[in-house]
Symmetry: C2
DNA sequence: CGAACATTCAGCCTCGTGGCTGAATATGGG
DNA sequence: CCCATATTCAGCCACGAGGCTGAATGTTCG
């Protein structure tokens, strides 16, 4: 799938990989995924000992990387995973297992 | 494959993901892989505008994460990829695509 | 042996990341 | 309308990561 390593693609890798670099953010992704139909910011923040404001920032990083999307439901925001974006990592990795 | 998320496993993820977080280190992995039979530290360092000492550190990070291994050949060190370790990333990702 | 080469070790400096606290901005219920 | 709730925005601080330079280590060759 990765035909040429365009600047845009490299930027995408950069965003995704550095988003995944922090353990809290990896935990968030797993939690949201296992929650199935999305998770509110509050519920996510409750998982951590951190101040919620800290978690907010992690959520922003994940969203900026395109790994998470949010949707407003009343007075709370529900986050859900963007699988397609996660697949980017798969693409990158695949190189090492595909070609001889 | 990941039965339980043991401390050791989490540490492994931590090492690998943060190693992959830096673009230079991702480039190194790709280059070494495409070189086929390994690559000397010098050849790797030559790819970058950085001072070679900087690249040395990147190589150490990659090796500490288990993604790279080296072997002494005369007065130069040859680095090669450890595919198994890269597969860890695959394991982590698989969760999101495997289970419903 | 001694000089040239390949690579790492040690130490310095800067800047971004990730933690915190305090204030701001919706939104829904009584 | 007003207050409680849910969440983000803004700004502060500290520490580690990643760049640099200079010295050290180990290896081959004449």
């Amino acid at each position: 799938m990765p035909k040429r390593e365009t600047k845009a693609r490299l930027d995408a890798y950069e965003a995704v990989f550095s988003a995944l670099a922090h353990p809290a953010r990896r935990r968030v992704l797993l939690a949201v995924y296992f929650a199935g139909g999305g998770m509110t910011a509050g519920a996510i923040a409750a998982m951590f000992a951190h101040a919620w404001q800290t978690t907010t920032r992690h959520l922003q990083v994940l969203e900026a990387a395109g790994l998470l999307e949010h949707e407003k439901q009343g007075r709370m925001r529900v986050y859900r995973i963007n699988r397609k974006r996660l697949a980017l990592v798969n693409d990158w990795l695949a190189t090492f297992f595909r070609e001889p």
